[in-house]
Symmetry: C2
Subunit: 162 residues, 2 copies
Amino acid sequence: MSLPAVAVSQSPEAKFREYLASRPKPQRFTDQQRDMINYIFSQHDHFDAEQLIEDLKRDGLGVSRATVYRTLAKLVDAGLLRRLEFGPRMFYEHDYGYPQHEHLVCEKCEKKIEFQSAAIESVIRDVAQQHHFQASGHTFIIRGTCRECNQAKMTKRRLDLI
Amino acid sequence: MSLPAVAVSQSPEAKFREYLASRPKPQRFTDQQRDMINYIFSQHDHFDAEQLIEDLKRDGLGVSRATVYRTLAKLVDAGLLRRLEFGPRMFYEHDYGYPQHEHLVCEKCEKKIEFQSAAIESVIRDVAQQHHFQASGHTFIIRGTCRECNQAKMTKRRLDLI
DNA sequence: ATTCTTGCAAAGCCTTTGCAACTGC
DNA sequence: GCAGTTGCAAAGGCTTTGCAAGAAT
């Protein structure tokens, strides 16, 4: 984990069941949903739908593409996952039990580095107030090259000069 | 315009021709490209490919979808346009002659409000340095409801109470 | 004349959806 | 048993691409 976890009193599954039960029309908890939650919260990663489908299949847990998308939407709505727009496809990360943060995204190796910034929060508050804008969310991504990829590039450059 | 323009010495078209000429394999300047640049820089808007295609057609300037996409890519590469990732589709805005800025995006009416923030720039510098990350660009979007849509909502709420 | 660009239609990629079969509650 | 869920395959929305015809230098 890149950042310290936040203490939470319920398991992700319990929190999801609570969410399902609290809907206007109570919704059902299925085996597929349980498998997805168990898998997703057994690790801390940024992942997209396609990766998740493959990983579940690899673990012998077949969940159809449609169900994966449908369940991801519910997990986001339930506050268990955050949805991230890194480029054209959606990524997901833990929300429940994990602090708010922003990302550095390496354009070479796709690595996501997390960081927290109080300054960002205050910019959002200030700007919103100034424009009488009711802020409900934000996206902040810094794109570039990570330390390792930078070093690789440097090394290659040195070798090229020999 | 939401922000003061930046003084530039060349016309967008001149700058684009310079870009084309400076390519390893010199590229050609076409009527379609000229029409697109004239249209795009005759106003200051955030637009997407589909809107641009329709607007050009409405003005009697037919440019095919493929050419619009191909030319937009070149305009971005040439530094004339910035590409923005607002949700699933790409938006474009002036880069040449326009200052760096961030956006508030209204989820109700899709309005884009521009703002500048020195604090953001310094967060980027600091975080990048701290992680030995070579930053090359960033995305910062605050989502929510704009003043007008907020008022509309308030008004409706009042009316609902009568 | 050469080589790049255009336009068309087809394909690609990610995500959503209609519908019959299935399953929690 | 009823109402919500699944899986499949098809459709959707946006963007890219192969290729023959056309245009810039």
